[in-house]
């Protein structure tokens, strides 16, 4: 019975598509999948905005939105209807385009941002055989499309002809470029072990159980380090605190989308969150076993439920980190990326090499965790050496 529940969406899709003549079936099934993605993830986006505001509120000893429940009624629902007025406000705000702006590029920027982000969902396995397109080089497709987002960030920053937005765009691109390398290198470790770029194969590889515990990569030493690197790089890739320098309100107003308002700003906002979900989805697929359940006797729970619970769990951790950590300065951000994350990712690849060629027993665990822990400590000390705040040297005053 549970297997039918697990495959409910797949059977529904096949049933829907069976009405059409044979020639139209592939097109219809892909259209339905697109409709599925375009409805589910914006809904998750709207719920996340409320979780974010309430979560950060609760952490700062205040309530967070608790007024709007179901619009035009008195039901409060503890504020979980807030995304409806927010959405209406975002869409009905006047869309001001600066006179000096480059109209065409200014208009295209949000579109060019959304296209790659939505394309990235084509490859993610949401549940057992619930992947929209099963590419053989799925991971490469994800990173290729992820790389195209920087172009839209530049278009937005440059076309609004405003110093702050150009500065924000430059910072955002520099940050995304330097953290993308760590992102790809930490994903390379998983590819080395699984031996294929196909995301379904990666999840299938992690879907086996010994003594009831799943073979998730995050339970191996290199997998844990890889996951932490991937997690930090995805924080930076989606411009979230503590890497939200590009849209640091205090310094450069709203970064590259300063001159955007109304619908276009809503698109940017949606694009940013969808990008975050895509990156978290990939992190789950690579390290946390995609849609597989952590314990064998819980495997009866449908696979997409596992995927979305993991997704929401990591989104909560993002919100938690956003409420805790202060913003990094630009040079600290760059130092951290090039002097700590990149070398550690390379060491991690070395460790996976050793892991691959050693016999599968406790020595392998010991050696690998020793090497990677040693690298972590040495690189960590390298980054923290200038913590000693000596007496300030004045340039002119005595």
């Amino acid at each position: 019975m549970f297997d039918k529940l697990d495959q409910i969406f797949v059977t529904a899709l096949h049933w829907l598509v069976s009405f059409l003549p044979e020639a139209w079936r592939p097109l219809a099934s892909s259209l339905i999948c697109i409709a599925f993605i375009l409805s589910v993830f914006p809904a998750v986006f709207s719920i996340t905005t409320i979780f974010e505001r309430k979560g950060i509120g609760r952490i700062q000893n205040r309530y967070g939105p608790n007024r709007v429940g179901i619009p035009f009624t008195k039901i409060r629902l503890a504020g979980f209807g807030q995304f409806i007025p927010d959405g209406v406000k975002m869409l009905t705000k006047e869309d001001i385009v600066p006179r000096a702006a480059d109209k065409v590029v200014h208009f295209l920027a949000p579109v060019v941002m959304l296209i790659p982000v939505l394309l990235a969902y084509a490859v993610l396995p949401f549940g057992k055989n619930m992947t929209v397109t099963d590419y053989d080089a799925g991971l490469l497709f994800f990173f290729a499309v992820g790389g195209a987002v920087e172009l839209s960030v530049f278009m937005a920053g440059w076309s609004s002809r405003n110093k702050y937005s150009l500065l924000g765009a430059m910072r955002a691109i520099a940050q995304m470029v330097s953290y993308e390398i760590t992102l790809i290198l930490s994903a390379v470790t998983v590819v080395m072990v699984v031996g294929s770029l196909n995301l379904n194969e990666i999840v299938a590889h992690q879907n086996q159980y010994t003594y009831g515990i799943a073979h998730w990569f995050v339970f191996t030493p290199w997998g844990l380090v890889g996951f932490i690197l991937f997690f930090i790089a995805s924080l930076a890739e989606s411009n979230r605190t503590p890497f939200d320098l590009p849209e640091a309100e205090s310094e450069i107003i709203a970064g590259y989308f300063t001159e955007y308002s109304g619908f276009k700003f809503a698109l940017f906002f949606l694009g940013e969150y969808l990008g975050m979900f895509a990156i978290i989805g990939l992190g789950i697929t690579l390290f946390l076993g995609g849609w597989s359940s952590p314990i064998s006797f819980l495997a009866w729970i449908p696979s997409y439920v596992w995927f979305f619970t993991k997704l929401m769990a990591i989104v909560f951790i993002f919100i938690w980190i956003r409420a805790t950590l202060p913003r990094l300065r630009m040079d600290q951000l760059m130092n951290f990326a090039w002097k700590f994350m990149l070398p550690l990712a390379l060491m991690n690849i070395l460790v996976v090499g050793i892991w691959h060629y050693m016999a599968a027993d406790w020595q392998r665990w010991l050696v690998c965790s020793a090497i990677i822990f040693g690298a972590y400590v040495v690189l960590g000390r390298g980054l923290m050496h200038n913590q000693k705040l000596g007496k300030r040297i004045y340039r002119y005053a005595e």
Partner: protein, 215 residues
Amino acid sequence: MLGEQIIKGLAVTAKNFFGSYVSKERLTTVQYPEEHLAQKENTRQFPFLVYDGDDWEKGLRCVACQICEKECPPKCIYIVKSKDKKPDYKGQPQLYPLTFDIDISVCMSCQICVEVCPFESIKMDTKFELSTDDRFSGLLLTKDKLAKSNRYYQKMHPQDAAESDAVIAAEKAKAAVEAKAKSDAQAKANAAAAAATVPISALAPTPSPPAPAAN
């Protein structure tokens, strides 16, 4: 080791997050329209006119002396005096204001009118939710909207009300004493006058010392 402080910081925020669900006194926000923050004793928003007794027309203390109108810095008080007089709380006939308007969109609640009023007739109210959809006449409070009973005043500002009532009681007592003194003098004068008329009729039979001078 890199990262220890981050974990400590995360622990603090986690304690805060779960604490807010467990112990209620962490969340200090007041849900405004439903709950109100208790107002301080000497809160002052906009002035109002005090009246004694039940009928605000007659009990209004204000005698339209226009001192507050002259003193008011932003000039937001407008008084038109009445022609006839009505007795005030001391029984003395006094004028009363035909119209007494305060434009609360101009009033800056500085309380100077309360300080200069010799008749304890204008005090500061504590109500601040006065928003109306009509910017001009909505915010121009006429006499009927301004008048509030002394009981309301005692409820809103117990301490100030007590002082002002004491002042009024003292004045009333003084007025009563004067009135009594005047009435005694009146009675004596009447008596003297009566006495003066009586000795003329009684003069003929017996020559008596002259009547005491009527004072």
